[in-house]
């Protein structure tokens, strides 16, 4: 039987639809009975959502200028 810890291991695979039909079914069954795991899966899903707009590297102005001027050079060449 699928335990909470097993489910936690494959939580992202479940969210992203990467599980086999059989595993997906076991997870669904477990979630029906276990509110803690329902919270956990919901939290993982929200965490993924939160990261969407955030994970970017910021370009600092000086570096941006450097990129632009090397492109300008290359365009002239």
């Amino acid at each position: 039987m699928l335990m909470c810890r097993d489910l936690a291991r494959i939580g992202s695979d479940y969210i992203d639809g990467q599980l086999s039909t059989a595993d997906n079914f076991s997870v669904k069954m477990h979630l029906l009975m276990c509110r803690h795991c329902r919270s956990f899966i919901g939290n993982l899903r929200e965490s993924a959502q939160l990261m969407k707009g955030h994970a970017d590297y910021h370009l600092y102005e000086e570096y941006l200028r450097r990129l632009e001027s090397s492109i300008d050079e290359a365009l002239k060449g």
């Binding site: 335990m3 909470c4 695979d13 939290n43 929200e46 965490s47 993924a48 969407k52 955030h54 590297y57």
Partner: protein, 207 residues
């Protein structure tokens, strides 16, 4: 012909402008695509070499884009070029990216189960009930930035390409040279970390 001053929103128009050597279009593309390109480069190289590679890539792209046929999408194409240049550098320097991935659970989650595998310390909060509040919380957003910057480079790159840039898993694997299962682990670990961070933030009000 007047230079377009407005942002080009359509990918194929942007490609045509780049192929025509339009300076404005290049400057727009640099702003738009460099963060993702840096994410790729940082996966392989130290921060300053990563910046150099992105710069070299742009110089190279000025010519190379003329032969771009649009099969893969501009972003994916750029990311692939960056990845290849990084791999070449590593090859020349005779270095390899370490690939220690391993366990799917974050220690902070793994320790919350009893030996039988049930929750001993279950999730204390349900994020979806607070989702909108969370998105608008400036302090939490800062905290999120801080934690994301603190992720190990490989995790951060993988998460950024997969979650923020919405690359398909197979593209990320290709660009970062990792197996599908390693990517799954990197993404899963990062999500757990962010969840633990939010839970902690909600309880203590501190980052």
């Amino acid at each position: 012909m007047a230079l377009p001053t407005e942002r080009i929103t359509d990918d194929s128009n942007l490609v045509s402008a780049l192929q025509a050597g339009d300076q404005q279009a290049f400057h727009q593309a640099v702003r738009e695509f460099s963060p993702g390109m840096l994410a790729v480069a940082r996966y392989y190289l130290d921060p300053s070499s990563a910046e150099d590679v992105v710069q070299e890539t742009w110089v190279n792209v000025v010519e190379a884009v003329k032969k771009f046929e649009g099969r893969s999408g501009l972003k994916t194409w750029l990311h692939r070029i960056v990845a290849n240049r990084c791999k070449n550098r590593l090859r020349t320097a005779n270095r390899e990216v370490s690939s220690e991935f391993g366990e799917a659970l974050e220690p902070g989650i793994a320790s919350r189960f009893e030996s039988g595998g049930r929750w001993a310390t279950p999730p204390r909060l349900r994020l979806e009930e607070h989702a909108e509040l969370l998105m608008e919380n400036g302090a939490l957003n800062d905290c999120l930035d801080k934690h994301l910057s603190a992720l190990p480079e490989q995790q951060r790159s993988a998460v950024m390409l997969y979650e923020a840039h919405q690359h398909k898993a197979e593209d990320v694997c290709n660009i970062l040279d990792i197996s599908a299962s390693n990517l799954r682990v990197l993404v899963h670990r990062a999500r757990q970390k962010i969840y633990l961070m939010v839970e902690d933030f909600q309880e203590t009000g501190e980052c």
